[in-house]
Subunit: 219 residues, 2 copies
């Protein structure tokens, strides 16, 4: 990969316009990733919800067939052939419902869990770090501002020392925050691939497991 | 089946209390069938809707993966390995989505169509016939009532003839309506079994076709 794919952590102290410009590109890329993952997350959530609904509806159908015997039909309640046929249908549909439920669990573990983690942990972390970075940049700017005004006047030693201490502390803070922010943005470029492939593999795995395990003999 | 499972059409003209009582049992049974089928219909509709949603959500996921290439990511847009991997995932998921769509169509034709027909045609016909039966019974009662009052007074020949004509017409109407109503109630006892088994067989068939045809080699 070309060098552009990495924010230079060693230049965080200098905070040059070039580094700021490169940061802008990384932030734009992160916004595009967030938007794309948000759409993918919604689509996968729909698959998962539909699979759950399919499982629940199939289970309900099986339950209704089992309940046929208990229904009070004033006529034809003595129809044993019908009852036993429906019981057999109910049994098979019940097993299909179990298969759907197994698939739901698989999707929850192998598809929804990783993409949710990426959304709620990794992408959220960057949003928070961006805020922290903004705050510490503002603090640093304010301290520098106070220091530059200070030099033009005659102040006592105590105030001067306080302001210089403030500049030192805020620069140190901003340096740390920037390093943390840059490191997370760099890491995201690697994480995004895993984050994209992992739930897809989970989806595939769930489909395969469903058809290789206990559900196979049903068809 | 014992004789109780049939309303005697030959006794519709006599309209005896015994026949009316038996009619009550049939109407109660029809109400139980309607209620049971209404629940089953809802459960099957849920299966069908969930299957449609699964098909749509899977299709959307595949579409999003295909769109990955077109996304404007300022960084890493040159990652061809990632792009071609996602294209392959998209292809498989697209085929899965087609399988879901085939299953949806199968469910629509073989499960939803027969149970909807039974709900909207057969059960609805009985509701309408019950109303028509009620109206013609009331008309007949009214005509008989007018006739019984008539015999106590001295009326002219013309009015008397009119009232007698009315009794004849309304009795004829009620007889026809009752025969039609009884025949439909009798028929329902046979139809209900087909109506119950047909959508279930359709459901099973859809599941089997799905896994024996073009979708089998996907797993």
């Amino acid at each position: 990969m070309p060098g552009i794919d990495k924010l230079p952590i060693e230049e965080t102290l200098e905070d040059s316009p070039q580094t700021r410009s490169l940061l802008g590109v990384f932030e734009e890329d992160t916004a595009a990733i967030s938007s794309y993952f948000s759409q993918l997350f919604k689509a996968m959530q729909r698959i998962y919800d539909a699979q759950n609904e399919l499982s629940a509806a199939t289970h309900l159908t099986s339950k209704l067939l089992k309940d046929y015997e208990k229904q009070r039909f004033p006529l034809g309640g003595d129809d044993e052939v019908m009852s036993s046929t429906l019981q057999q249908f109910a049994k098979v549909i019940d097993e299909l419902s179990s298969c759907h439920a197994v698939l739901s669990t698989q999707l929850a573990d192998a598809m929804m869990f990783p993409i949710t983690q990426f959304q709620e942990r990794d992408l959220r972390e960057i949003v928070i770090l961006k805020e922290v970075f903004q705050i510490s940049s503002d603090d640093h700017d304010a301290a520098i501002n106070r220091y530059s005004r200070l030099s033009k006047r005659k102040e006592n030693e105590k105030v001067k020392n306080e302001v210089m201490e403030d500049v030192y502390t805020s620069r140190k803070k901003q340096h740390e925050t920037t390093m943390h922010y840059f490191a997370s943005l760099n890491m995201l470029q690697y994480k995004k691939k895993i984050a994209l492939l992992e739930p897809l593999l989970g989806y595939m795995q769930a489909q395969v497991i469903r058809h290789e395990s206990q559900c196979k003999d049903l068809y």
